[in-house]
């Protein structure tokens, strides 16, 4: 979407701060897949995949791919020490039972009360929900990492989602290239700004009102 690798990594790095030792984390495709690169070696995390991998590791080197060891998108991965395989039913059992601590995913829209719309564009793109509904509804913490605006320049953070919902009131944290918002009982709370953006930039590009933290953290480029 025209964003440079650095900006994408900046967002991924910020998402990685949410991950603590021992957590079970599910990553969506795109920017979320960059998150592991920003974790310290000391942080033991089990990355979870919908197809039945617990403990997914980084992509293999070229030529070392195993066609029977792929992520939910069908692309080769590796297994970390302590990882294991289950069938897909148990993989989702982990999600519904509340064992997935964090899911980090992209979205088309997020509303000010945390509604998530990321599975369908009526009449255009109907990929299907895959595992997004279970993850959005049942992961302990739902983090959306996405561009602040869509390709037409329209805000993706909106008062009410115009696209069909994946799940309502499920998002906990929104990370864009400009800012970080917490979803609270009182709506969105801006807590962080990425350099070089200022508050006015964010207000302009955001489709809904939001509260502003007393102590905004400014994250340098």
């Amino acid at each position: 979407m025209g964003m440079g690798v650095d900006i994408r990594n900046q967002m991924a790095r910020r998402a990685s701060e949410e991950i603590q030792n021992g957590m079970v984390v599910n990553l969506g495709i795109g920017i979320p897949s960059l998150v592991p690169n920003h974790l310290s070696k000391e942080t033991k995390v089990m990355f979870h995949a919908e197809n039945g991998i617990t403990g997914m590791g980084p992509s293999p080197n070229k030529g070392e791919e195993d066609e029977n060891l792929c992520n939910a998108g069908g692309f080769p991965v590796t297994l970390t020490c302590g990882g294991s395989y289950t069938d897909s039913a148990i993989a989702f059992g982990m999600i519904r039972r509340g064992k997935v601590d964090i899911t980090i995913l992209g979205s088309l829209q997020v509303s000010q009360n945390g509604d998530l719309a990321n599975w369908i564009v009526p009449g255009k793109k109907v990929p299907g929900m895959g595992g997004a509904m279970e993850l959005a509804q049942k992961a302990k913490k739902v983090i959306v990492v996405m561009n602040h605006s869509d390709k037409n320049g329209s805000p993706k953070i909106v008062p009410v989602c115009t696209l069909p919902l994946t799940s309502s009131k499920c998002v906990d944290l929104i990370i864009t290239e400009m800012a970080v918002f917490k979803v609270t009982e009182d709506g969105l709370l801006l807590t962080e700004l990425f350099a070089p953006y200022c508050l006015e930039n964010v207000v302009t590009k955001t489709g809904c009102e939001f509260n502003i933290s007393e102590n905004i953290r400014r994250i340098p480029y």
């Binding site: 692309f75 109907v126 929900m129 509904m133 279970e134």
Partner: protein, 230 residues
């Protein structure tokens, strides 16, 4: 190789089980763990008007996607069709009916069929019009749930790493995915396997699908498609 249970056979001997208009369930996730030799057999036989049940529609040249691309399906029950543009195109043209089910609930519906339960209750996608469409609600302890019905099929096709002569199966890494569930849900289940070993060769604690659920075992000719990442 002995064949004391008569389960080990060749592709041509199971082809009569596939017919126009049938319900066919397939193992695999993004094509990984889908049985290439059986899918090619079905494609070559020209079987059509299929109702396909499985996680997703693969890629156009990978897994069940080949059958979808060739317009052999009239209906698909799946959680995702995004990696196979032909599925979406046929859906918009009215050629293909698609029933979307949330991925984990789809897996549980297949499992329920496999273990002889009629339905499960679920709160996934409750307030989503597409998921909830035509599904009965049930109120338990004051909370509403969807009644998600079990799925079975006339024939299930799965892909496994090894089978013994009883049809006990083990799978390879993430190619396990939906296969153990699909293996239970077929009225008849055919396992395509990379290797057939004598009875007693598989470690008994490691068998994932007991041969009780497997009617036929055929040797795989191996994956004959190019993976999306290749």
């Amino acid at each position: 190789m002995d064949n004391p249970f008569g389960k080990i056979t060749a592709l041509e001997n199971v082809m009569e089980l596939f017919h126009d208009g049938m319900t066919l369930m397939f193992g695999g996730f993004g094509g990984v763990g889908s049985p290439p030799t059986l899918i090619d057999g079905i494609l070559e036989k020209g079987v059509t008007n299929l109702t396909l049940i499985g996680n997703d529609t693969g890629f156009p040249t990978i897994g069940i996607g080949k059958l979808v691309k060739a317009e052999r399906a009239k209906k698909v029950i799946a959680s995702h069709i995004g990696s196979n543009p032909f599925a979406g195109q046929q859906m918009h043209e009215g050629k293909l009916e698609v029933e979307f089910s949330p991925q984990g609930i789809l897996a549980e519906r297949i499992r329920a069929g496999g273990v002889g339960l009629p339905a499960i209750l679920s709160d996934i996608g409750m307030d989503n019009a597409i998921v909830a469409k035509n599904k009965p609600l049930f109120t338990l302890n004051g909370k509403n749930y969807l009644v998600e019905t079990a799925l079975t099929a006339e024939v299930s096709i799965v892909f496994a790493k090894k089978a013994d002569e009883y049809g006990n199966l083990i799978y390879d890494k993430s190619a396990r995915n939906t296969n153990p569930l699909v293996a239970m849900a077929g009225d008849i289940t055919i396992a395509e396997v990379e290797e057939i070993v004598p009875l007693g060769s598989l470690a008994t604690d490691e068998i994932i699908t007991p041969g009780v659920f497997v009617n036929y075992v055929i040797p795989s000719k191996g994956v004959n498609w190019k993976w999306a990442w290749e």
